[in-house]
């Protein structure tokens, strides 16, 4: 704590000095010398050619300069060799070398001992020659008071003191990553009450280690590991998912926690079904497009109907499996059946909840049921690809079965039959009774056969048992 207090004292002192500067800058006019320099440098297009061909912009925004912490300083305070009379010719090899040279000036007022009290400066200074120069983070003509002399009530405020400003770092591959945190989003997130270092291990008011990542994606993937500290159950589930398996095979585009849940804006993933499905659509654009046109997606997005399934309802959120596997195919009737076997829910939409049972009690449904038992007993057991709901009704493009889609569903049925039953055109597909319960009007032959046996089996059985009882009774009487 002593260390922090000292750093606060230092910052307060600095703020006092700077505040007195602001008082001077409040005057409508800049120092006379600055007005003279801005005569040229206040106009856009004042550029300076460097030896390596780069250009250095020598333009200074008058208003921003006036409003900055340095607004009260005259230009020569930093650019000591220049004056209204003297404008020496300077030669620099590159922008980088220029910035390095220019930043040395900063140390005149901001010596290392003072700035190293800020952890991020301390860690940067430690890295020696590779340290970024001051102007890399602080635009010298637009410099603002990052801490503004405020006392920090907590660690989060302390971090946000810098990180609420636009800032970024360049990573090894040359890409920059923004380090700005949207504090409003953070406050609105489910993690509003967490401290920064709950996720950003190793960082605190006194510690600001330097991290070295190759790319922004590497950084995101590494940072997402922080989630497992609290959400270990979800984390272990993701280890079984196709996303993790793709990631571990080297495809860094596979999503990690933060890709779906966001980082500082993390919210309850289930809270918004529309957003949840759209998140999947960010990568799975084609499928999402198909889904939005389906009966389910259309109802969700156009009518905001929350009864319909979103991606995660069928594919799950964390344990997402490859959808083209035999295992997943065998789960389909159960997945569809969760809603389509629910009589109350189906009644709401005028749909028949018996469709699931009519499938499950038919040849293919029974086969599937046995297959699932076989899979449980030995996952490698050989199973054929069995026709399920999706083969006729579609997957992401599920439509209503009434109206113009009827013929499409039927043509899919014929196609699916032919996959296993060669030459199954003609009347063969009629063997499937299209989910209808047999009745006098629909499949009367099946209905009558079932009815006959329903009456005949008990009749026969009761008759035979009565005969047996009579026989036993007569034997007992005769004895």
């Amino acid at each position: 704590m002593g260390h922090r207090e000292t750093s606060f004292l230092g910052i307060c002192l600095l703020a006092l000095i700077l505040l007195s500067g602001i008082a001077a800058a409040a005057e409508p006019n800049l120092p006379a010398e600055a007005i003279e320099c801005l005569g040229c440098h206040g106009q856009k297009g004042v550029n300076y050619a460097l030896q390596n061909g780069e250009t250095l912009e020598a333009y200074v925004d008058r208003n921003k300069y006036q409003a900055s912490m340095h607004g009260s300083l005259s230009c020569t305070a930093c650019h000591g060799e220049f004056s209204a009379k003297d404008h020496p010719e300077r030669k620099f090899k590159s922008r980088e070398l220029y910035a390095l040279k220019a930043s040395q000036v900063c140390h005149q007022c901001h010596p290392d001992e003072m700035i190293s009290k800020v952890p991020v400066h301390a860690s940067l200074l430690k890295s020696g020659n590779k340290a970024p120069v001051c102007s890399g983070c602080h635009n010298p003509h637009e410099i603002t008071a990052i801490t503004a002399g405020k006392k920090h009530s907590n660690e989060k405020d302390y971090c946000l003191g810098c990180h609420r400003h636009s800032m970024g770092i360049k990573l090894r591959n040359g890409e920059s990553v923004s380090l700005k945190v949207d504090s409003a989003a953070l406050d609105g997130s489910v993690h509003a009450k967490l401290a920064c270092f709950d996720c950003h291990f190793g960082f605190s008011g006194t510690q600001h280690p330097k991290r070295n990542f190759n790319s922004p994606r590497d950084f995101s993937i590494a940072q997402a590991e922080a989630c497992r500290r609290c959400h270990f159950d979800k984390y272990t589930k993701t280890l079984e998912s196709i996303h993790y398996s793709v990631l571990s095979q080297g495809n860094l585009n596979a999503p990690v926690c933060t890709d779906c849940h966001g980082a500082h804006s993390v919210a309850q993933a289930r809270a918004d079904k529309v957003k949840s499905s759209q998140r999947c659509g960010r990568c799975h654009q084609d499928i999402f497009g198909t889904y939005t046109r389906s009966v389910h997606g259309n109802a969700l997005l156009q009518e905001h109907n929350l009864d319909v399934p979103i991606c995660a309802d069928c594919h799950t959120a964390h344990t997402i499996q490859g959808a083209h596997t035999q295992d997943y195919r065998e789960k389909v009737p159960e997945i569809c059946g969760r809603c389509h076997g629910d009589a109350v829910l189906m009644k709401k939409y005028g749909l028949y909840a018996g469709v699931v049972n009519s499938y499950l009690s038919d040849f293919h449904g029974i086969t599937l049921k046995f297959y699932r038992k076989q899979k449980d007993a030995s996952p490698e057991s050989s199973r054929k690809s069995i026709a399920t709901c999706i083969d006729c009704h579609g997957i992401h493009d599920i439509t209503k079965t009434s109206g113009p889609a009827t013929n499409m569903v039927k043509s899919r049925l014929v196609k699916r039959c032919e996959k296993c039953h060669a030459g199954a055109a003609g009347s063969f597909p009629d063997a499937w009774l299209s989910h209808y319960e047999p009745s006098l009007t629909n499949a009367p032959l099946v209905f009558l056969i079932n009815l006959t046996y329903k009456l005949f089996i008990p009749f026969m059985l009761v008759g035979l048992i009565l005969q047996i009882l009579l026989h036993v009774w007569r034997y007992a009487v005769n004895r």
């Binding site: 063997a431 032959l445 047996i468 007569r474």
Partner: protein, 246 residues
């Protein structure tokens, strides 16, 4: 001739036929009903033990084929025997079977003093026999429809396939229930044969049981009037009850 003497009832061919049928029937029932009663754990156990539903179906289909062969051989043998070898067509149903059934009812209710006087096969046996033949034909034909549904659908409407499935499955249940109640009672638990009617294993039956169950046939064998056989042996359950297991 004493009551305990054994009379030959079945030849080797009939015994073999019964045993083959029993094995094939058991196989068919196990592999078939496990599919009908797919929700039960015992069905899952059977399926997994047999190496999965696909293997089970193969076993079921070839057992069915074997059953069809047995039926075919039986019918060919029967026709050949009756026509060429002049075997008596003892399994044919005639008016006496219905009379016997009524008389036996009267006996059970105490109206008649003795059971019906039956010939070589009584009406209960004929009922079972023709049940197997008729049911067998139904099972074989519907089974073939289910085995080759695509070919069937070329000539018949598609609805015949679920109809065949309904008939096959229901008839199987009926056959199974008749066997486990009626046949098992009559050949195992009936007080007259308990603990087991050995006739189909040894091919022999006691003279005492013949007097009680097939007096008309015995009278023909021994060339005496039926009435004499009954009178002599005090025809009734009390006497025959002791003969079980001989």
């Amino acid at each position: 001739m004493t009551a305990h003497a054994l009379i030959k009832r079945f030849g080797f061919g009939r015994i073999l036929e019964h045993q083959a049928n029993a094995i094939v029937f058991t196989l068919l029932v196990i592999t078939g009903l496990a599919q009908r009663f797919h929700e039960y754990r015992v069905s899952h156990w059977i399926t997994l033990t047999l190496g999965g539903v696909d293997t089970m179906r193969v076993v079921h289909r070839y057992s069915g084929l074997l059953f069809a062969c047995l039926i075919l051989v039986h019918i060919v043998t029967g026709i050949y025997g009756v026509i060429i070898k002049r075997w008596p067509a003892a399994m044919m149903i005639n008016i006496n079977d219905f009379r016997n059934a009524i008389e036996n009812m009267k006996y059970y209710f105490g109206i008649n003093s003795h059971p019906a006087l039956c010939d070589r096969y009584d009406y209960k046996q004929k009922f079972e026999y023709w049940g197997v033949i008729a049911g067998g034909f139904l099972m074989i034909s519907t089974g073939l429809i289910l085995w080759f549904p695509v070919d069937v659908a070329r000539v018949l409407p598609g609805e015949f396939i679920p109809a065949a499935k309904a008939a096959h499955s229901n008839e199987a249940l009926l056959a199974f229930l008749v066997i486990v109640t009626w046949h098992i009672y009559n050949s195992v638990f009936s007080p007259e044969v308990f603990p087991l009617d050995t006739a189909i294993f040894t091919g022999k039956i006691s003279r005492e049981r013949m007097i009680h169950e097939h007096p008309v046939e015995l009278a023909r064998i021994e060339n005496v009037p039926v009435e004499e056989l009954i009178k002599h042996n005090g025809h009734g359950h009390s006497a025959s009850g002791e003969s079980g297991g001989h």
